[in-house]
Symmetry: C2
Subunit: 210 residues, 2 copies
Amino acid sequence: MANKSELAKRMLKYRNVIIKLKNLGIVKVFSDNIADTSGLSSSQVRKDFSSLSIKGSKKGGYQIQYLVDRFEEILGAKNEQKVIIVGYGNIGKAIINYQNLNNDICKIVAAFDIDKEKTNSGLDTPVYHISELDSFSKKNKINIGIIAVPEEVANEVYEHMYNAGFKGILNFTRIHLKEIEGITIKTINIDLQIENLFYLVSLKEQSKDA
Amino acid sequence: MANKSELAKRMLKYRNVIIKLKNLGIVKVFSDNIADTSGLSSSQVRKDFSSLSIKGSKKGGYQIQYLVDRFEEILGAKNEQKVIIVGYGNIGKAIINYQNLNNDICKIVAAFDIDKEKTNSGLDTPVYHISELDSFSKKNKINIGIIAVPEEVANEVYEHMYNAGFKGILNFTRIHLKEIEGITIKTINIDLQIENLFYLVSLKEQSKDA
């Protein structure tokens, strides 16, 4: 699963940079271009493309439209992906602002909260009471959601979403949610990323001093 | 570097969960507790602890205060870590709200923007003009920063920060920044995480149908 997941990540990166390059007006693209914009090595790009039966021209390079079409075939057309968020506190609001800004690809279509005073169906991203989560997600065929609730209720909300048939969760709380069979969890922990930066930078500085 | 970086990540996780468990009043802690709260296996925990010369009691388990002290020794005391952010648009504001809420550990102490109308030194997180970045970061000994600017100026801002002596960057834009010698970059791409969830969930569903 780890290798599959790594390849999947790279494929999504490829598609994203290919669409960006196409939007810039590029017609023919080289593995070096894709490497530079995706942060992967050009040999990795060529290897992956070859394993996906993506063929370059004799003179080298790929027609960008061919790549767009090919990745659409492989990954499915890039429809707008709809998710919901549970937790409409400051953090939930910040994530909605961040995510829905200039973004036609992954949209947060509704928020859910336990506080009835926060519900407001008139907003761009409507806020419903948590009791409506099951019916809303079934009706709109949504099975991927974001958790942005206080730590002490994170596991309770996770269980609720699991029982409501959710299959994928993006966890924005600072605690670890245990992956249960049939559900995939990704965690975004900004603290940990910053701490990790501090640590790696201090390691580098120490090795310089030594 | 990859292994060192993985161990570093685990060590930061250990410290974080140990402090959380201690705050809950726990005195004696078992590798299973740490595994459950960190998402690592208990054998990994025991292996890492043993490699860090952290010793359990004869009956199994660790005194939590001993672990707190030991990780402080290894990683340094957990001082408040200060970073700055470049870009005070909607996304920058959202990140500041998210990051500075209930957080004494990693604080965004100032924001910088090219738009003079946004500068405001009276806010909780003051906003300065980008031209003040060099002097502010030198004066406050800050060399880790977040980039939250529009895509088209991300590389320019990155170069500016590199020249100003920054050593670590957390990239919140949707484009790839190339790592230069002497600087460490981490990227948080929420789109990619959500897309990855969609892809992994669809893979699982397909294998169920097959």
